[in-house]
């Protein structure tokens, strides 16, 4: 499921958030690939440090007050599916 609930999202060890100043782009880089992120995506990924998903969303709302919870879950689900996120509880 793309909207599976992840308790404490964090980037897997081989994936890194990166701000590409040359291209003015937020990215997740991983072997032989990169994923371009929009502003919201970048804000979410920068908070994927093992804190609880609810805390992440609450904190995110300080920057993006209108952010829908479902959209965040869906985004996290997509990253999880791509193998870029893990659950800090399980690692």
């Amino acid at each position: 499921m793309s909207d599976c609930k992840i308790r404490r999202p964090q980037l897997v060890r081989h994936a890194r958030y990166r701000c590409d100043e040359m291209r003015r782009q937020h990215q997740i880089v991983f072997p032989e690939s990169l994923l371009e992120l929009n502003e919201t995506g970048a804000a979410i990924v920068q908070r994927c440090d093992g804190r609880k998903t609810e805390e992440l969303i609450a904190d995110l709302r300080r920057q993006f007050p209108d952010q829908e919870t479902d959209d965040v879950h869906e985004f996290l689900g997509r990253l999880l599916q791509r193998g870029l996120l893990c659950d800090a509880d399980e690692s």
């Binding site: 060890r13 081989h14 890194r16 990166r18 590409d20 040359m22 291209r23 990215q27 880089v29 991983f30 072997p31 032989e32 990169l34 193998g83």
Partner: protein, 370 residues
Amino acid sequence: MPTKARPLALLAELTYRCPLKCPYCSNPLQLARYNRELDTDTWKRVLAEAALLGVVHVHFSGGEPLVRHDLAELVREARQLDLYSNLSTGAMLADVATLTQLRESGLDALQVSLLDARASGNDHLAGMASFEKKRQAVEIGRQLEFPITLNVVLHRHNLDHLEEIIRLACEWRVHKLELAHTQYVGWAFRNRHSLLPSREQVQRAAEIVTGARRRLEGQLEILHVMPDYFQEFPKACLHGWGNAYLTVAPDGAVLPCQAAREIPGLEFKNVQEDSLESIWFDSPVFNRFRGTQWMPEPCRSCDRKEIDFGGCRCQAYLLTGDVAATDPVCHLSPQHDLVTAARIEEKGLEAKGPEADRRDEQFAYRTFSS
């Protein structure tokens, strides 16, 4: 044609030296001509210039990059520059101490080559015993929590062991298995006669990969690079010449493609004389096959010209003698018969039966002395 595109990946070929002798090596045939390697400081400058130019991924490769004693220092430099670093190794020198030091220096990912699922086949192809070293390197890499890709180049001598190769990748618990059919340039072109598979082998491989992908979803990622000799259209080589990739060779020559230095008449600039930025944007060799203006017919009026970019320049040169020709693997190429002929030759040899077939004894192993 000038470009605004910036390279995403740098292939840093630190050395052409390598203990292995793989008969499909992508290094040049005239290895001894390029034996003066850049020093550490120059490589550090290259990395810094690459980062400024927009490079995100740096692939430390070779030859065998582990023969360079400054590899950890270069990895550290790459990390400081926020480059994502990858090491491609044949594993002969990949011991615990070395890989641990590289991990601590900030190396992000590891690629280990494997020639066959069977030790005997692997060692025969590599020209020396190396299977056990590869198995150990994967194990060490896994303990160090590297994401590991197992790279297997496919050809007639290992295609029938594909199921075993996939099983081994699962057993060794690598993250990704790259199954790349041989590209017939460099040493592989010289050994094409011995390496070219049959159409049946190629088709069976595709079926096996499809099945394995379904079975192993979420467990093992499988990348399958198809053999262009058996396809209708050429591959989108490099995603376009001078578009996303660049290679710096051991002696500092900057190449659009690692195999391109064997094309006569192309003059490659060197990082010892020019900056990476000026070479990327302004050198004639990088601009020569950018865009679509350079294309001959049938490419020029083809719908696919922005999809496959006319195919591979190195292959066009090797097969036709004209670097600007349509890649002859394309069925629309007026010189497609050059590829058909190679397939027909293979079929003829196959028909003679295994008794008369001496193709696995006829490798020209990679060597510095040729």
